[in-house]
């Protein structure tokens, strides 16, 4: 069977796996963005929170993904739960760090002017600081997404969703019928998902970056 024939014959399985792969990444990144940006906001004002959270997020990344997923099995079982949690925590570091960097990197005069004009801390955050830091925060989210799209393939080992099954099942029986096709189809699917997510973020960036930050002087 050629690669093309293989993809056509297994289209249902492949497309379902790809959709699940994209879905688990999307949910994980949404959770990580919510939590990570929140922690970043707390962290930009408090050195304690900042240092602790960044150190913790960095420490998580040093744990091999297979080990983390396996360790989670007693807590969240096989499948979606463990996959989702590990992907979420792996995504923290770039998001927290970019949120903190973005907020701390703002022109001090802008923030002082805002306070001096009578914007409350909350309003200043919502109307000035976050919009200005947003391009950097979004970059953090995008980097995290690219990172966990790859890691999501490992979820196959804990019976998780996604294209990992194709890849590793193929690899485990290399040499037999269609084994290379399965691995190839899974890998290619991951690449396609990565490209699609990147296009998505490109569009989001374009649509959500305040115009005043895009204009040429």
């Amino acid at each position: 069977m050629s690669f093309g024939e293989y993809v056509i014959s297994r289209w249902d399985t492949l497309s379902l796996a790809a959709a699940e792969h994209a879905l688990v990444v999307a949910i994980a990144i949404a959770l990580a963005a919510l939590i990570g940006v929140g922690v970043g906001i707390l962290g930009h004002g408090s050195p304690r929170v900042r240092e602790t959270s960044i150190a913790a997020a960095a420490a998580i990344l040093t744990v091999p993904s297979l080990a983390l997923m396996t360790l989670l099995i007693p807590l969240t079982g096989l499948g979606w739960g463990s996959t989702l949690i590990s992907l979420t925590v792996y995504a923290f570091l770039p998001i927290i760090r970019n949120t903190v960097t973005g907020l701390r990197g703002l022109d001090a005069a802008t923030v002082e002017a805002g306070r001096g004009m009578g914007l409350s801390r909350l309003r200043l955050l919502a109307q000035v600081q976050l919009p200005l830091a947003w391009p950097l925060i979004l970059t953090g989210i995008r980097i995290s997404t690219q990172m966990i799209i790859g890691i999501a393939a490992i979820a196959a080992f804990v019976d998780g969703p996604g294209l990992g099954n194709q890849i590793f099942e193929g690899l485990s029986r290399l040499g037999s019928v269609n084994s290379l096709n399965a691995t190839l189809a899974g890998t290619l699917g991951v690449v396609v998902i990565a490209v699609l997510f990147d296009l998505f973020f490109f569009a989001v960036r374009h649509l959500t970056t305040p115009r005043g930050l895009r204009v040429r002087p």
């Binding site: 001090a108 004009m117 305040p210 005043g212 204009v215």
Partner: protein
Amino acid sequence: MFDRDTDGVRIELRALTKHYPGQPAPAVDNITMDIPAGELVVFVGPSGCGKTTTMKMINRLVEPTSGEIRIGGKDVLSLDPDELRRHIGYAIQQVGLFPHLTVAQNIGLVPKLLGWPQAKIDARVEELLALVSLEPSTFRGRYPRQLSGGQQQRVGVARALAADPPVMLMDEPFGATDPITREHLQNEFVRLQKQLRKTIIFVTHDFEEAIKLGDRIAVLREGSHIAQYDTPAAILSDPADDYVAGFIGQDATLKRLALVRVSDVPIADPLPDAALPQVTGDASLREALDVMLAHGSDRCGTPSGVLTYAALCAAVGSRPEKEVSEGVMSGGEVR
């Protein structure tokens, strides 16, 4: 928010002190001062003497360690800080415009916080842009990054004026611009304040600027101690001590000449003389002297007659060694 009398609101500082934690000495040490309603008072002093700290205590960006502040009779420390700040104009050297908002949105922000209807905000933005000499139709929709430094400063001033606050705090607002733009902004600001008569505290380390803008000048030394607090003319003619004299520099008399306009001095001869070098009535006596020196003349023509060197001397309270003209004028009452 503040009780205004006809002139605006006055500001009273009483034993105001700020001691930053971990600093050996207070940055502001027990300053007591009255800023009359509708006057522009300049704080001038060397870098680090506590000017900014003193000013920021008034809008509570810095919380005083002790002391009292009253604006229009109201105890500032008992008010909600955010609410207070919406009624005090604030302009700083680095301007701090919001880069993601248009010029109109930057200016309209405080009025919006105060709940003005949009139509009123739009009209106010137009009015203010015109006031700071920026063509509204051109600049309304621009973003801060599309403005020159001088234009940003103007928008900064317009934004501080937006909700028509009775009090303005300005911390070296023209400090970051080139000398020509700065001079231009200063001139405009003098004209503006003539119309507005707001109570303004203006911080600078540039004594020339202080003379040019201030109704009164507070010369400060380390710890925001007041070395002298008086009108520019009084400080120039009678500096309190060597510190103040040092600040004025060697050319106090020339600086005093700069304070007086040609149209404010009596003239020797009420008949215009086209043969003489000419100055306008708006020119300062310093400029008139410059014209005389440049032409080797002891007199120059003004729109209303002839101005003599002797009249310049009289204006600063001195007499020429030798009478160079017959019609020496009695010292004109200046200021």
